[in-house]
């Protein structure tokens, strides 16, 4: 056991800079993917709630499809299967795109249910004072829905962060790819994968705690009313 840690003491100075740089890529990947998921997810949610039948059907279909396909498959389709169409993407871009459009389906559901929890009467009251539907969304619905949606959105962020690990399978230079490289160079898979796990944990855990704290506060606010 002690021997196990001694290896970290000896090797960490060599591993750390590379792993740290990889963690940077992981965060970047997470940021871009989540950004895409938020923007695209909001569009999907609005399309789904819109009165235009075609639009809402298409959005619903997209969400259903994406929820039935593994992230990894979406990633492979974007990275490998699109190449013959003449589009080549770097692994990082393909990774962000794949994770983003996949997560968007889940984000859309979070937005939709958040928007739907705002009572219809509140929207009508806004229309009655002369707000346009867009103003109603902006000033009445979204400010309230945001508070409700925040915990599930943060949880989604954690999921995206964890999912970036599979981008190593399309050779995006993030934590798991670097850990794999180093593991085969140093023949220390246990050490490197535990290190990788610890790094993910260090990034994901605070977010999880935040989501839970926020959800608890929301719950208390409700009951206190």
């Amino acid at each position: 056991m002690i021997q196990f840690f001694e290896i970290y003491v000896a090797k960490l100075p060599e591993w750390w800079p590379e792993m740290l740089a990889a963690a940077g890529s992981t965060l970047l990947l997470t940021g871009y993917a989540f950004g895409i998921a938020i923007v695209f997810g909001l569009c999907l949610a609005l399309a789904k709630l819109s009165r235009n039948r075609v639009l809402s059907r298409a959005a619903t279909l997209y969400v259903e499809l994406m929820r039935g396909i593994p992230t990894l498959v979406v990633l492979f389709i974007i990275y490998f299967a699109i190449v013959p169409l003449g589009i080549t993407l770097s692994a990082l871009v393909a990774g962000a795109l794949g994770l983003g459009i996949h997560a968007a389906a889940y984000v859309a559901e979070i937005f939709r249910s958040g928007i739907e929890t705002i009572h219809r009467g509140q929207r009508e009251a806004a229309l009655a004072v002369g707000m346009t539907p867009r103003q109603t969304l902006r000033y009445i619905v979204l400010p309230q829905a945001t508070a409700i949606m925040l915990p599930p959105l943060i949880n989604m962020l954690v999921i995206v962060l964890k999912d970036t690990s599979i981008c190593s399978l399309i050779s995006a230079p993030e934590i798991m790819l670097r850990a794999k490289d180093l593991a085969s160079t140093y023949f220390r898979p246990m050490h490197l994968y535990v290190l990788a796990g610890a790094m993910y944990f260090a990034m994901a855990w605070p977010l999880s705690l935040m989501a839970r704290g926020w959800a608890r506060r929301l719950g208390r606010g409700r009951h206190g009313a």
Binding site: I77, K162, M176
Partner: protein, 209 residues
């Protein structure tokens, strides 16, 4: 011809899913029960387990179990490694699900059942289990669906499931778009029925509330 190969993989995917699901249910139930005791150190250990496994990617967990354990002399086959790895991750999720189920039972329901003259066993059978079941069922259904999709990650440790064969076929035939769309379709065909079922169960339990 491709389809036959992929279907062979699908059988393995389903086996991995069923195996991991069983592991997750057993571990989750056990941990949830431990967490409902008064023993503080034990509860702390359960919390550690849940937090660690919930905040580390499945791929990392699989690599630790498959490649990492081999380094210290414990060599697992890919399929058992996938079942254990995914199962332990799912166990952390289900610990929270079951804990919510157990907590919902503490609302005087048992006392009320005893008060109308039921035996404790009858209370469990007629009052507590039916309610806990409805609370736990929808998340269990959702979990089974996401688990099925997660088995695709097991291809990274060479477990011969759908994704593994898909990647093999691609390197042999270069029919990349065709094979990956067939793969996507195959997962869809397996997931959608589960999703429908989950939605129906959810609707059922909501109308009851």
């Amino acid at each position: 011809m491709f389809a036959a190969v992929l279907l062979g993989g699908a059988v393995v995917s389903v086996w991995i899913m069923l195996g991991a699901f069983s592991v997750a249910v057993v571990v989750g139930l056990f941990m949830a029960l431990v967490a409902s005791t008064r023993n503080r150190p034990l509860r702390f250990l359960v919390t550690c387990y849940v937090e660690v496994f919930r905040n580390v990617p499945a791929l990392t967990q699989l690599f630790i179990i498959y490649f990492g354990l081999a380094q210290i002399g414990l060599r697992l086959q890919p399929i058992p490694a996938a079942i254990i790895g995914l199962g332990l991750g799912g166990g952390a999720l289900l610990t929270e699900v079951f804990r919510a189920g157990i907590e919902a039972l503490h609302h005087g329901q048992r006392e009320a059942a005893l008060a109308v003259g039921m035996t404790p066993l009858m209370a469990v059978r007629h009052i507590i289990l039916p309610q806990a079941w409805r609370i736990v069922l929808p998340p269990l259904g959702n979990y089974s669906m996401s688990l099925l999709k997660e088995t695709s990650v097991a291809s990274a440790i060479a477990a011969p499931e759908i994704m593994f064969y898909a990647r093999q076929l691609v390197t042999r035939t270069f029919e990349t778009p065709l094979i990956y769309s067939m793969t996507a379709f195959l997962y869809l065909a397996m997931c959608l029925p589960i999703g429908r079922l989950v939605a129906r169960l959810e609707r059922g339990s909501r109308s009851w509330q």
